[in-house]
Amino acid sequence: MGTIVFFIFAILAIAAAWGVVTSRNIVHSAFYLALSFSGVAVLYVLMNADFLAAVQLLVYTGAVSIMVVFAVMLTLRGEVSDSNPENRKWGWGAFISVLLFAVIALVVLTNPDWRILPSAWTSGGSAEDMSLLLLSQFMIPFEAAAVLLTVALAGAVILAKGVKENK
């Protein structure tokens, strides 16, 4: 059962990602992106990370994809069907990417000793556990992340608004 679910959504996520990078229509790319994010969220659920799955859906599928779509709308010029072309060096890019994948796959598949748990643990991953950890062990990074978000927000606003030349 779990295996079937896994393969369905793993293939979905990968296929959607394929769509993102191959589609010549930028709007389609954006939608494929949202699909891929959702597929990954399911994989999180399969790995007992319920809270992360929720965050993934909210932040990625919900916020990021929408923002991307907005950005596309703001910057779209010319024909939409040819809004997302490849450059001249895409062959090289493909070659390097495949090479990298081959290397990683080689490592992953040939590695004999991953020190996997004898029996996978089942509990944890809930919002409660996470929050406990965030507010004790990782308090300072957590606060730093909060500051980072605020700053990024302010920065984004300023950038997007544009600085007026004070004359």
Binding site: N87, K89, W92, G93, I96, L99, L100, V103, L106, V107, T110, N111, P112, D113
Partner: protein, 647 residues
């Protein structure tokens, strides 16, 4: 008796210290007040003279004891890495004699300068230099070890440099000062090397310890090669005296040094500093004694210089230059005397020469003063009547240098010539005798032309002030009676000798021969320049080439200048060219190469971020693969192992 004297001798350090104090005082306090400066300086040197006289008297009273046991006081001065150098004073008859001579001539010269330098702008500077010189010279005289001697040796060289170039605005003075320093420096190079080798061999620089070490090492037959080593060291040490005492071929600086004020020439370049070389050879005599070859060399150089300089002096017209070549010639006497083993004769001649040569230089200064800076003897004439004191004292000087009894030069010159013959050096003796004849001739020539010749109407000479004549009289007195030190039973040689003292009587036969040589020289000059029996012009006309060579001092200066300007400066230019075009060229070439290759590599920076990222990741993959497959083991693909973790 000796005990009390001993205490006195311990105070010998005051003698150089006093003039040094006066130098500091003048340099930092009284330099604005001319009167004070000269007073301070003269007071200091007179006090030093008094002390030197006291020490001299003490030596005479101590008798044989002081000869055997010199009084040495010393303290540590430098101490590094196993090298220990002391500074101290040694009082023995030799140093006491030098102290007396130096302080006497220095004080006379300083008093004389009151008149001679009157109105000079650099008055205080002059007296400061004079004090510094006196201090350095005296310090050198009482040095207990070679390094101390070398230090003061160089300092007198500095003073000589400063005083030759005293009138620094004169280009000739400036060049002469430079020449003097550099020429003596060439000698010092050898001297320094000799000192280093000596220390390396014997582990000490102390004169007494060195002498002892040398004799032990010579007695030890097992130590092979000592004799050769000693010869080398003696040669190297002798280079110093060759420079300082103006021996051929390093004599070129001394005549040029006459560009300095005349009292300076009298003090430094006639009486004291130039004999430092002789003094050094005497001090190191134990070393030369150990090497017959070195002694032979010393004798040869001395004799050659004596003759060589005397021949040049015949053809010179400048009063100071004649005296300068005469000084060279007399220094040659002293040096060859040491070479033939006449230790006390050489020292005796050193003393008497200091008296009469200082006298003649000061006399010449008086003449130049009266002639308003004219120095050519042919411009002078008839000074005998106008300047009686100068004339008489100068005449005494001429008699003394010509070896006419009973004047000082007779005794000393006779002794060393007699020793040369007795010790089996007939050639040196013959050269010395012939030089004595030449000396008498050119000195008389100078005297007859300048003092006795016809008066020149355009000159209005007048006798010099008393500050200048009194030193002349004092020095003339010593030039007259100084030689009598050879007479008593405890005579000069009793106190100052090397090895065992063997009293020897005057050899009146040899003395007669040298007196005849001197009289012949004077007579010849009389015939040529007073009687005009043989015209000097006709001689010149008959021998134009030898005359020209002599007049131009055998062209040695020209040769040296040619070497310096063509070889040394040429090499300098070549090396500079090498430096800026080859070495710097390589450097700049590398820089250009870098710039060029950078221009090529710059194309790779397209500005396209994606290209950069691709290269970056490609490199990551390559590095990854190198790590993974580099050692040919597939199993090393374990990522944990790759990251340095457990395997």
């Amino acid at each position: 008796m000796f005990k009390e004297m001993h205490d006195l001798f311990r105070w010998a350090w005051l003698i150089p210290a006093l003039p040094f104090l006066s130098f500091l005082l003048i340099a930092f306090v009284t330099k604005r007040s001319k009167g004070l400066s000269s007073t301070v300086s003269i007071l200091a040197i007179l006090t030093a003279l008094g002390l030197a006289v006291a020490i001299g008297l003490g030596i005479i009273q101590s008798g044989a004891e002081i000869v055997e046991h010199p009084v040495i006081v010393s303290a540590n001065w430098l101490n590094i890495g196993g090298l220990k150098i002391n500074f101290g004073t040694i009082v023995d008859p030799l140093s006491a004699m030098m102290l007396f001579v130096v302080t006497l001539v220095a004080s006379m010269v300083q008093i004389y300068s009151l008149g001679y330098m009157h109105g000079d702008k650099g008055w205080s500077r002059y007296y400061a230099y004079q004090s510094l010189f006196a201090s350095s010279m005296l310090g050198m005289v009482i040095a207990t070890n070679l390094l101390q001697l070398f230090i003061f040796w160089e300092l007198v060289g500095l003073c000589s440099y400063l005083l030759i170039g005293f009138w620094y605005f004169k280009v000739s003075a400036r060049e002469a000062a430079k020449k003097a320093f550099i020429t003596t420096r060439v000698g010092d190079f050898g001297l320094l090397l000799g000192i280093l080798f000596l220390y390396n061999k014997f582990g000490t620089l102390d004169f007494t310890a060195l002498s002892a070490a040398l004799s032990t090492s010579l007695q030890n037959v097992a130590v092979v090669g000592t004799a050769g080593y000693v010869t080398v060291m003696a040669f190297l040490i002798f280079m110093g005296p060759m420079g300082k005492s103006g021996q051929f071929p390093l004599h070129v600086w001394l005549p040029d040094a006459m560009e300095g004020p005349t009292p300076v020439s009298a003090l430094i370049h006639a009486a004291t500093m130039v004999v430092a070389g002789v003094y050094l050879v005497a001090k190191m005599y134990f070393l030369f004694q150990a090497s017959p070859a070195a002694l032979q060399f010393v004798a040869g150089i001395g004799a050659f210089t004596a003759l060589f300089a005397a021949t040049i002096a015949i053809a010179q017209d400048d009063i100071k230059r004649i005296l300068a070549y005469s000084t060279l010639s007399q220094l040659g006497y002293m040096i060859f005397a040491l070479g033939v083993g006449s230790y006390s004769g050489s020292m005796f001649h050193l003393m008497t020469h200091a008296f009469f040569k200082a006298l003649m230089f000061l006399g010449a200064g008086s003449v130049i003063h009266a002639m308003h800076e004219k120095q050519n003897i042919w411009d002078m004439g008839g000074l005998w009547k106008k300047m009686p004191i100068t004339g008489w004292t100068f005449f005494i000087g001429v008699l003394a240098i010509s070896g006419i009894p009973p004047f000082a030069g007779f005794w000393s010159k006779d002794e060393l010539l007699a020793n040369a013959l007795q010790n089996g050096h007939p050639i040196v003796y013959a050269v010395g005798l012939f030089t004595a004849f030449l000396t008498a001739f050119y000195m008389s020539r100078l005297f007859f032309v300048a003092f006795m010749g016809p008066e020149k109407p355009e000159n209005h000479p007048h006798e010099s002030p008393w500050t200048m004549t009194i030193p002349l009289i004092v020095l003339a007195t010593f030039s007259t009676i100084g030689g009598l030190a050879a007479l008593p039973s405890h005579n000069f040689a009793f106190f100052i000798h090397f090895g065992e003292f063997e009293p020897e009587g005057m050899n009146w036969g040899l003395a007669g021969i040298s007196v005849i040589a001197g009289l012949l020289g004077m007579g010849l000059a009389y015939y040529i320049y007073i009687k005009k029996a043989i015209s000097s012009e006709s001689i010149v006309a008959r021998f134009p080439v030898p005359y020209k060579i002599l007049k131009n001092k055998y062209y040695i200066d020209e040769l040296y200048l040619w070497i310096i300007h063509n070889i040394m400066d040429g090499l300098a230019k070549v090396l500079y060219f090498f430096d800026i075009y080859i070495i710097d060229g390589i450097i700049n070439g590398i820089a250009l190469l870098t710039r060029g290759s950078a221009k090529g590599l710059r194309r790779m920076s397209t500005g396209q971020l994606q290209t950069y990222a691709m290269v970056f990741f490609f490199a990551v993959v390559v590095i990854f693969m190198v790590f993974a497959f580099g050692e040919g083991q597939f199993s090393s693909l374990n990522p944990l192992a790759m990251l340095g973790g457990v395997k």
